[in-house]
């Protein structure tokens, strides 16, 4: 079964391995046809399917069975079939449903971006900016939770949580002792550690990186600076526990925080250990490599070294290459 299957997403055909999900096939094409994902995380087994922002329309099931799928499907958990045709941004139905999901995700979100450390690198902020309404129709008091202290390294703001379960999967799969899970049901569900035990594990800090919103943030970076005023630099060190490849966030000569390196979809390349993340905050601890690449669309790029470049395209595709060329010419003029 190593024969590749063909899938067409928004009119662009790509050949992928059988068993690939629609979302990953779209990521092989790249560009703005990639559905947004708030809960899916390629490095975490079992993640995805929950936030419903990545829903797409399957207008043709497969070559064998060309019937369309009756409902919109979660692209992160639906595998491609040979000859499948998928509509994402070309389907008004999908865009409408997605903006509905965004609205629903935001009704109980406190929208405290001005005081949130995640602002500027928040997936929900980006999503709301692209799809959300400017005004909310929700006129009730937003849901709040009791504050829970989960240790001196990680700050939990349950009010901001969108219950993507990513941190639960991280706690399950990366760390060897689970002290972190979901309590209660429905919209009372909350991320918690049982009996408020401190999350102490060498890799527990990774829950900060996987969190798409500001629910889990770095206590050592808390209220230090806005992310767009800091400059990210790739660096590494010889670490006995992890690979030691990280991004340092500088303000002047000070390292304000250390995170794992993230790809263009906001997923970490390698999980890092707590020593690297919380304790090594001097330039002398690290070997500096280069400025981190930041997507032009990110607010962090406004203060960055790199000049403007067109969006990267991973898969060679004639149509996209053409589009890229046009983009490049525009940039040159600019």
């Amino acid at each position: 079964m190593s024969e590749k299957v063909k899938v067409t997403i928004d009119g662009i055909t790509v050949e992928v391995e059988p068993g690939t999900t629609i979302l990953n096939a779209a990521r092989q094409i790249g560009g703005d046809i990639v559905p947004p994902a708030m809960c899916y995380y390629s490095k975490l087994e079992g993640s995805g399917g929950k936030c419903r922002t990545c829903i797409v329309k399957v207008s043709k099931g497969s070559e064998k069975d060309p019937r369309p799928m009756p409902k919109l499907v979660a692209s992160c958990r639906t595998t491609v079939m040979d000859g499948m045709e998928v509509m994402n941004i070309t389907s008004p139905e999908v865009l409408e449903a997605r903006s509905g999901v965004v609205e629903i995700l935001l009704i109980n979100h406190p929208l405290d971006c001005p005081v949130c450390d995640q602002a500027g690198e928040c997936d929900l902020q980006n999503l709301g900016y692209e799809h959300g309404l400017q005004k909310t129709r929700y006129e009730f008091e937003r849901r709040t939770f009791e504050r829970i202290d989960i240790g001196d390294k990680i700050q939990l703001h349950m009010n901001r949580c969108i219950l993507c379960y990513r941190c639960v999967f991280t706690a399950d799969q990366i760390t060897n002792k689970r002290v972190h899970g979901i309590l209660n049901r429905g919209d009372h569900s909350e991320i918690s550690t049982y009996i408020q035990t401190a999350v102490d594990n060498d890799f527990s800090g990774n829950v900060i990186d996987v969190c798409p919103v500001g629910a889990l943030t770095d206590k050592t970076f808390r209220f230090k600076n806005r992310v767009w005023f800091t400059k990210p630099v790739d660096a590494h060190r010889d670490c006995p526990t992890c690979k030691g490849e990280v991004t340092l966030w500088y303000k002047g000569a000070d390292v304000l925080r250390v995170t794992a390196r993230k790809d263009i979809y906001g997923e970490v390349e390698d999980f890092i250990c707590n020593t690297c993340r919380f304790d090594k905050k001097k330039t002398a601890d690290w070997v500096i490599e280069q400025p981190t690449h930041i997507s032009d669309t990110s607010v962090i790029a406004s203060n960055h070294y790199e000049t403007m470049k067109p969006l990267p395209v991973i898969q060679t595709d004639l149509r996209l290459q053409q589009a890229n060329k046009v983009e490049l010419e525009k940039t040159a003029k600019f």
Binding site: K50, L72, G100, I104, L105, I107, R185, D187
Partner: protein, 454 residues
């Protein structure tokens, strides 16, 4: 007297014991199936019978069985879904309380057909008396040699276990049920893979409702073709209906599918009409999840023909003028009942029971509940009504499991059919707290060319 297949001997004293049940012809189907039929023959009989799932969705049981993957060397499971917790549905509890052996007999035959060596009955945690009844009945059956090793000398082994549920409505969704049965938090799984491929402990599994499994017994006894003669069209056989609300005689009734709704409500054989001489205002025909219908559309189709109790007739006209068979929880409302209050009540239930896994259902059910609460208590706005329709549309179809749909349908349908009552609540906030809207025009005959919304 209409034909009864499941509740034929319900009034025989001691029918809950094995001896009396055997005297009335019990366990004939086990003997017939295990001694004369091959497992595939049993599946074929069920397919021929046209039996449709009695839990709510109405998926043909025989088809479901034939989808079961049968890889070599992998265990297969049959799980009976007795987590009956839909508001308005209580038929399975009745069946398990009074004729527990009917379920056990059905489980043995069904397990044999599917090749399952271990089967589970997942009973709602609140039904502790029924769990004890089932456990006693299983012990009796085991003593008589209908369970255990080498049943009736056929070489077929089966162990049957009763599992008390975790006490959540969501555990009635088949994949959440399997998660709960495995001892995990009862969150629905993301499909595919379907349970027929990877279900309980990752093995192929069939999950069936109590009534579906009990219906296998008459199918094997009389043959699938004979069973298919009962009922109407593609709705074959009999169905247990839990009738509740403002009826003279609420209770569990076994009806032959195809019975006119009017006869079911008003005839003395069944519910005996509306209590206290009042008039019917609205019904929920299949448990709280299905669309609510005004009296006129309950009794008649949009074209004026009488509506029948069958899968097709109840859903005739789609959601614009129809509803669904659902699990058979028939709730009748008389002229004094407030549809807004009832919709809010249902909405509160779904808000409370949402598992919290996927966002549209987790946040949307709470939002609808709050808006409905506001309208019901006289603080609503006109724009709230359209807001509710919009929110329900955004939940429907965008969730992992059908709970989102089930939460959205009652709200959307209540507004579709009873919009003037909602508007009255907004317009007359004080009056709506003291009196109710009454029957209005909901029982008037349908004029042709009914306004089609949606």
């Amino acid at each position: 007297m209409a034909r009864k297949l499941l509740l034929e001997h319900i009034n025989v004293p001691g029918i809950n014991t094995l001896d009396v049940y055997r005297q009335k012809g019990g366990y004939r189907s086990v003997e017939k199936a295990l001694k004369t039929l091959s497992p595939d023959d049993v599946v074929e009989e069920v397919k021929k019978s046209g039996l449709r799932g009695r839990g709510g969705a109405g998926f043909p049981t025989g088809m479901k069985w034939s989808f079961l993957a049968k890889p070599e060397g992998v265990a297969r499971y049959l799980v009976c879904n007795a987590d009956e917790s839909e508001p308005g549905t209580f038929k399975d509890r009745y069946l398990m309380t009074h004729i527990p052996h009917a379920l056990i007999e059905g489980m043995i035959v069904s397990s044999y057909a599917l090749g399952a060596k271990t089967s589970y009955i997942y009973v709602r945690g609140e039904m502790m008396p029924q769990i004890r009844i089932l456990e006693k009945a299983i012990a009796e059956a085991k003593n008589a040699g209908f369970l255990g090793k080498n049943i009736l000398g056929s070489g077929y082994d089966l162990e049957l276990y009763v599992q008390p549920g975790g006490g959540a409505y969501i555990c009635g969704e088949e994949t959440a049920l399997l998660e709960s049965l495995e001892g995990k938090r009862g969150n629905p799984r993301i499909k595919p893979p379907f349970p027929a491929i990877a279900g309980l402990y990752g093995c192929p599994t069939v999950v069936n409702n109590v009534e579906s499994i009990a219906a296998v017994v008459p199918i094997i006894n009389d043959g699938g073709e004979e069973y298919a003669k009962v009922g109407i069209g593609r709705s074959t056989g009999t169905k247990l209906i839990s009738a509740s609300g403002n009826l003279v005689r609420p209770g569990v009734y076994e009806i032959e599918l195809g019975l006119p709704v009017e006869e079911f409500i008003y005839s003395d054989e069944y519910c005996g009409g509306i209590a206290n001489g009042k008039r019917l205002k609205a019904t929920v025909a299949g448990g709280s999840s299905v669309p609510v219908l005004p009296a006129n559309l309950t009794l008649k189709l949009a074209n004026g023909d009488p509506r029948l109790m069958s899968y097709e007739s109840l859903s005739e006209g789609g959601f614009a003028t129809g509803t669904m068979m659902g699990s058979g929880g028939f709730i009748a409302f008389d002229e004094d009942q407030c549809i807004v209050r009832n919709t809010w009540n249902f909405s509160r239930f779904y808000h409370h029971e949402s598992c919290g896994q996927c966002s549209p259902c987790r946040e949307g059910t709470g939002w609808m509940e709050k808006v409905l609460h506001r309208i019901e208590h006289g603080h609503g706005k006109m724009s709230d009504i359209d807001l509710l329709v919009d929110v329900s549309k955004k939940i429907e179809g965008n969730t992992i499991c059908p709970l989102g749909d089930a939460a959205a349908w009652p709200v959307a349908s209540a507004i579709r059919h009873f919009r003037d009552e909602f508007e009255w609540h907004v317009r007359e906030p004080q009056k709506s707290q003291q009196t109710n809207y009454g029957i209005a025009r909901y029982a008037e005959p349908i004029v042709s060319g009914l306004k089609q919304e949606n």
